[in-house]
Amino acid sequence: MAIIVEKRDLTPITSLFEVNAPLIARNAQPGQFVMIRVNQQGERIPVTITDSNRSKGLVTIVVQVVGKTTHLLRSLERGDRILDFVGPLGRPVELPKHGQAALVGGGFGTGAILSLAKELAARGVEVCSIIGARTRDLIILEKEVRASSDHTYLCTDDGSQGFHGFVTGQLEALVRAGMAFDQVVAIGPIAMMRAVAETTRPLGIKTQVSMDPIMVDGTGMCGACRLTVDGQLKFACVDGPFFDAHQVNFAEAIVRSKTYAEEERAALTTAVAAGG
């Protein structure tokens, strides 16, 4: 049981929550996630930790509505309780100790790159953050990302703000302009992460992605989250969530992520109709 101490709506479909979870805040490291269950009938879903404050015992998460559980989660308010809030799970991301790094965040993934940006800034790595969204109203946490990055670039698919086009276009432009990234980390929708992988592969830049497959327990017990990485079977919840983007079998991961597309759509429609 974890109490929500602060809620901030970032866009019409995205909210930021600060949750009281002192044990998790104490041990959380950049790139880890929590498993959340909203009510007794609920499913367990993974959500990336955006930030944690050890002294206040708070964990920050950003939730974008994609299905019923995220819909229910977003309808919670300050003072409400989250039934199950477990973490920090997964292996912390391995970040470079110096040089230049690009962080690419798409959609809710922008929340996830924030803790990485802070960590890199603390290490003295030069950070370029590229954040993308369909349109300007959906860009989140711009101020926070700017505060922890040396350079911040916005991209919108419709050109309503910043670079007109995908985050990969911006990334390529930066490399052409002479940025020599030691590492790229991309977090967001799977299609975006695949596009980033294909952009950096010919450039030979080490790239990590945060895989977000369907999970049940999030502790390594079920194998629902399995992926093929470099021809090997991996469980995203315990071996990941970060993997070498050039080794991930994205085609397979994309197919697997749609296993319950029908059920998810039906459940969301019912939940929205019920006003829940």
């Binding site: 044990l23 041990n27 499913e43 367990r44 039934l83 477990v86 017990m221 749609k258 059920e263 459940a267």
Partner: protein, 488 residues
Amino acid sequence: MPMVQLKKTPLPALDPIQRRLGFQEVSLGYSPTQALAEAQRCLLCQEPNCEAGCPVGVPIRDFIKLIAEGKPLEAVRAIKQVNSLPAICGRVCPQEHQCELKCVIKGKQEPVAIGALERFVADYELAHQGAQTSVNGYHRNLVNSLPGKPTAKVAVVGSGPASLTAAGDLARTGYHVTLFEALHVPGGVLMYGIPEFRLPKSIVAAEINKLREQGVEIQCNTVIGRTITIDQLMHEMGFGAVFIGSGAGSPKFMGIPGENLKGVYSANEFLTRINLMKANRFPEFDTPVKKGQRVVVVGAGDTAMDVVRTAIRVGAREAYIVYRRTEKEMTARIEDYHHAAEEGALFQWLTNPVRLVGSDDGWVRGMECIRMELGSPDESGRRRPLPVAGSEFLMEVDTVVMALGTNPNPTVSQSTQDLVSDRYGHIKADPATGATSKPGVFAGGDVVTGSATVILAAGAGKRSAQAIHQYLNERRKAPTAGAPAVGC
């Protein structure tokens, strides 16, 4: 002299047609009259072979004698000296490979139904809870009032049979026990793995409630190694000792092509979705599961039987077990195998999958198999299955479940320095005490042995509880310099 009853007193079971309609317990248990009749079949041997067949040495002859004398509560007390979980073990132990295998009357007659009798007395006790406390004498207050009582804190990791047993014994000895479970429900495999129709969850819940009454604090949603590390437990939170019973939860796959198609599950995933998350009741519950029409389960252990029977209950028209050896080598309990067959499960013995074939949109649609024959015995003493060249054939399927066994979950060992495990991730522990390479840290159950049985896990928990008590006692008497003091 009563007439000798050659066969076991039949154990009543739910009608097979009715079973398909839900998850009600199949095996119904003895009535007092039936239990008495069965107890009277026991010869009360001077040197009971059956007890040598029990991995933890339950005093079988004595408890059966007590049943025959009409003292079921005393019988259960005798069992609990050695095994804290008789209601569970009576239901799930592979008795035909253990105690009942060694019963002297076996051969000419059927062995005494020891498992069913164990279950009978345990259920009798549960139904007469009030009486239980007075006869058991498990009075925490009593222990606590003793001078020089141990008040140290002990942490127990996981909540399967190993941990439940260790926690109970330590609490009754007077320790402050906190049990940390990663999932949102305590009970381990007993809750998320073994289905309701074989082990009603109310039985597991009763054991857990008993622990709470004995003062055990249960903290779910806590992954040791992540939420709290073992070192934090010991050096920051004041736990004098830790017992690790984190099980062997990590499922194995075959490594054949097509295993990541949609509709392919591990047994753990399939069972967890249904037992723990109630996916069979989607959309009332939010977790979905594909309810296959043609389901194939690979493997023939207890887990495989549980999956095939679950698949039948959630609507499979055809549900197969595919196993590369024969019925004779399968490891499933015989009672469950019979129940599965009665419920309509189909068996393809001497058959091994070679690849899975998918549709254009990535759903599993076929399983190519090859027939096998048995060669000479392998390391396990069982005859080695060998493929028959050219015998490949295709099975039409829409759901495949891999029930191939499990490895330990790596989280605890990876996050704890100086805790030695083998290359498969089994924590190395002294079989007599559960002591690991790290002082004050003990381990037992599947995390040490690899996937085994409930009774072996429970036995390990019991031995570790004693060893922890001894360890803490010694520390109390002679606290070593520099180490955090154990006690108040």
